[in-house]
């Protein structure tokens, strides 16, 4: 009550009685091991009384600590019951010394408070490093099925691709060769043999070929798709078409 600042700080400002005791010790620049318990107890009780005056709710922890402090203070006023035996450091009385216990608790609590401070700083630093939301890998996970590969691929796209390949070397398309059915089954077999060695692409299959052969390849691929023998996939419109063997289980 003597110090005006007392009125500015309420019990609510503290994380608990230990926090409040640390505040007294640190603001008076005291050593935890040299705390004059009597003085700290007086300060502590002054705060409690102040809180009562303002009809603030006092958490039970603060009352428990008050009892501890008063017990320690009372004990310090009494003469020592047993003389400390220097040859017996495990003295029963020393082990149960509540003042020593309190000092150890304050020390431990202060250490964790310092860690909390470190964490607070690290939290701020880490927040400066921002990532992006992940992209789902699920679509890549399962071995895709025919319908996955063909999703969005329409025959008109295939047609566009073949027309583009055909017009790459020559301006006009000779439609008459499309009727040459004889070579399509042969071409289908050749493509299947190629695929048994590994997947390929439409551009690879038609590289350096005559347009008649290209059309045959194209028709053979359409037939193989229809027969569910191969899987085709086109990443982009007018892009290459990936072709692989459909695994039959």
């Amino acid at each position: 009550m003597k110090e005006p600042q007392n009125y500015q700080i309420s019990l609510q400002s503290f994380e608990g009685p230990l926090d409040m005791l640390l505040h007294f010790i640190e603001s008076d620049k005291l050593d935890i091991h040299e705390i004059p318990i009597a003085k700290v107890t007086d300060q502590y009780m002054a705060y409690l009384n102040q809180s009562l005056e303002f009809e603030l709710e006092i958490a039970s922890e603060f009352l428990v600590m008050a009892a501890t402090l008063i017990a320690i203070k009372a004990r310090s006023l009494l003469p020592k019951r047993i003389e400390q035996n220097p040859q017996n450091p495990g003295d029963l009385d020393a082990e149960n010394d509540p003042e020593q216990d309190l000092k150890e608790r304050l020390l431990e609590y202060k250490a964790f408070k310092m860690v909390a401070l470190t964490l607070e700083q690290k939290q701020v630093q880490r927040a400066e490093h921002i990532g992006r939301l992940p992209t789902a890998l699920e679509p890549y996970r399962e071995l895709p099925t025919v319908s996955d590969f063909l999703a969005g691929l329409e025959l008109s796209h295939l047609q566009e691709v073949v027309l583009r390949v055909l017009t790459r070397s020559q301006k006009t398309v000779d439609v008459s060769v499309v009727r040459d059915r004889e070579t399509i089954p042969e071409r289908m077999n050749t493509i299947l043999k190629t695929l048994q060695k590994g997947s390929t692409t439409f551009f690879a299959l038609t590289k350096n070929r005559q347009r008649k052969e290209i059309v045959t390849v194209f028709l053979a691929i359409l037939e193989l798709i229809r027969l569910n023998k191969i899987i085709c996939r086109q990443e982009a419109k007018f892009g290459d078409i990936w072709i692989e063997l459909k695994k039959t289980n």
């Binding site: 230990l18 964790f112 909390a116 964490l119 690290k122 880490r126």
Partner: protein, 187 residues
Amino acid sequence: MDRIEENELTSFDSLAILEGLLFVAGTEGLTDKQIADVLEISESEVSSLCHTLAVKQQQEGRLFRVMQIANVWQLNTVPALTPYLRRLSLVPAPSSLSQAALETLAIIAYRQPITRAEIEEIRGVKSEKAIGTLIARGLIMEAGRAEGPGRPFLFATTPEFLDYFGLQSTSDLPPIAEIERQIRQNE
């Protein structure tokens, strides 16, 4: 000569692939094993590859960088970009943890697995609310039950705890005994 160029190309490609993979993994990041499996290299080579990528990113003046946090490699922006991200409100509003939550978390980090009663013993106050917040934020989790009466829950930190504070492992924090020793000495 040809051979050197080929090697350079390969190494350049793995860096580009690595960056692409990390880009896709986003905040989830990738473990040594995931990267090693995809790039078909040994796990022991991953760290050096990631560091090479970080150097490359820095040299090219890019504002995101590969970094290892909580045992995963992830791409994150560098602080220089933060003012611009703020302008776009792309930076999540700061939501720092309360003092109570930070204290509770500090205790759990060092003493895990630990019961609520043990935490409250150290802090000298009830800590139920702080524990609840930390669980909801995914920073701690229930990790079994303690022996003894009531078999109370034990709490431990999660990998997200490490990520949240940018720690590699809990051993990145100074030993608590060391901190206590410093406090004693400074007095």
